[in-house]
């Protein structure tokens, strides 16, 4: 439930500044940046993602640490399933 998944901002949408393409270990999905409007990320930044929304900016090192935490917790499959499901892909 409280999964926080690290992802790298690839591109901010030109027509919607609150929508960004992120890369999570090779899977690319759109997420919402609306909760980071006080400290907007730019392409190349790392963020923690929760239910399709970027929750906080983090360092590349913290992103790697967070990935290994998910792996240790046995949550990596759940996290990747969540990311793959963003945008209603691969579900329903």
């Amino acid at each position: 439930m409280c999964l926080a998944i690290p992802g790298k901002i690839v591109e901010i949408s030109s027509d919607n500044q609150d929508s960004a393409l992120v890369d999570v270990v090779g899977v690319r999905r759109r997420i919402d940046l609306g909760l980071l409007q006080d400290d907007k990320p730019v392409p190349g930044d790392w963020v923690l993602i929760h239910v399709g929304f970027a929750m906080s900016k983090i360092s590349e090192q913290d992103a790697a640490d967070q990935m290994s935490t998910l792996r240790m917790l046995g949550e990596i499959d759940g996290a990747m399933q969540e990311v793959q499901g963003y945008g209603l892909k691969d579900v329903n």
């Binding site: 409280c2 609306g34 209603l88």
Partner: protein, 375 residues
């Protein structure tokens, strides 16, 4: 010490565990509550209890949103799902949680339109894709998740998407901690504070726990080393007779939280006068409802909601387990009638629920030990 070799920085873990043993000594017992269900899962997963000295007892807190949701709310949500042309959308965690007439997944098997979404914004997308249907998002979660629901509703309003609503079950962590501290059968020395909730609310909302209740609280990360370091920080405070809020999870949690997320919560929600928590009963000002500006997107206002109240099965002792009075395996149904495959109580459904966590790790370990002793 199981799993230790799999940990990162095993030497640092051993050193930190030594420091815990040194600080804890043997003369007294320490009861520490980990508030967050993610921490409960991690504690069992890593076998942290095997690393900690016996006089440090970890009590599992109320921070699993699926687990604290009363069954009546699930029934209420599913009653809306049964109305014509309604799509019931919820996170995967909700799908196997039993209501009195079955879980959302069982309703789906009976032909009710139930969909898994991984983000509230995808529930809104479903509404855009199905203009002749009404999409109701069954929202659960603490302050970690509430801002995403709020922002999704702000977008629905701005875009004028009117075939979308939210059945709001968002709860807030601070009143639950207060209720636990007020409970006469609960004696706690310190708190391991939630990690991801605190990315939103920051550390200040915990200050009353330190100031008024004189209990130390350390906001913690989820790795074994994080949690062991947090326990060291708590023990140091307790040994020095201090009570303050500290942040072990600085790499993710800013002291002030996420102000944009808090603004989104304030824009859409207001506090309910009271809300029922499974196992804890009614707690005042402990949950969020949708305010009048967003009434059109509030499923509780758009639909006739029966307001079902269901008492848990008598034999199930979810309440005692949730309050930390009983350990999971001390419940009469644990591992017999109630298993992760056939859950009776919600604590057995979510991987963050203490019963499921206990069943998946401790119970299997015990079963393996008894099997090997037979062999």
């Amino acid at each position: 010490m199981r799993y230790v070799d799999e940990f990162r920085e095993p030497e640092l873990i051993s050193k930190t565990a030594d420091e815990i043993r040194r600080l804890a000594g043997t003369e007294r017992h320490y009861r520490m509550m980990e508030v967050c269900g993610g921490h409960t899962h991690a504690i069992y997963r890593f076998g942290l209890k095997d690393i900690l000295p016996e006089n440090i007892e970890l009590i599992h807190g109320p921070g699993c949103p699926v687990c604290v949701l009363p069954m009546g709310r699930i029934d209420d949500g599913l009653s809306i799902a049964q109305q014509p042309d309604v799509i019931f959308a919820a996170f995967g965690d909700m799908m196997r949680v039993p209501g009195t007439q079955g879980s959302p997944l069982e309703h789906k098997a009976r032909g009710i339109d139930v969909r898994i979404v991984y983000s509230p914004s995808d529930a809104l997308k479903l509404a855009r894709l199905n203009p002749d249907k009404h999409v109701m998002f069954f929202a659960i979660g603490f302050e970690t998740t509430a801002p995403s629901t709020a922002l999704t509703m702000m977008r629905a309003k701005a875009e004028g998407v009117r075939n979308f609503s939210v059945f709001c079950n968002h709860v807030t962590i601070i009143p639950a901690i207060r209720a636990i501290l007020d409970s006469p059968d609960m004696r706690l020395d310190a708190f391991i504070g939630p990690g991801h909730v605190s990315t939103v609310i920051g550390c200040r909302p915990y200050e009353w726990i330190a100031r008024n209740e004189r209990k130390p609280i350390v906001v913690s990360g989820f790795e074994p080393l994080d949690m062991l370091q947090s326990i060291v920080m708590l023990l140091r405070q307790l040994k020095a007779g201090e009570a303050k809020v500290e942040n072990q999870y600085k790499r993710v949690v800013p002291w002030e939280g996420n102000r944009a997320a808090l603004r989104a919560i304030a824009e859409v929600f207001q506090l309910r006068p009271y809300f029922e928590w499974r196992g804890l009963g009614f707690i005042s000002q402990s949950a969020l409802r949708i305010n009048d500006k967003y009434a059109e997107w509030d499923a509780e206002q758009r639909f006739a909601v029966p307001g079902i109240r269901v008492t848990d099965p008598k034999a199930a002792q979810c309440g005692e387990v949730l309050k930390g009075v009983l350990k999971p395996h001390q419940c009469k149904l644990f591992g017999r009638e109630c298993t992760p495959e056939h859950p009776i109580g919600a604590l057995m459904v979510s991987s963050e629920g203490s019963c499921a966590a206990y069943h998946n790790y401790e119970y299997r370990k015990a079963a393996m030990v008894s099997l090997s002793s037979i062999a």
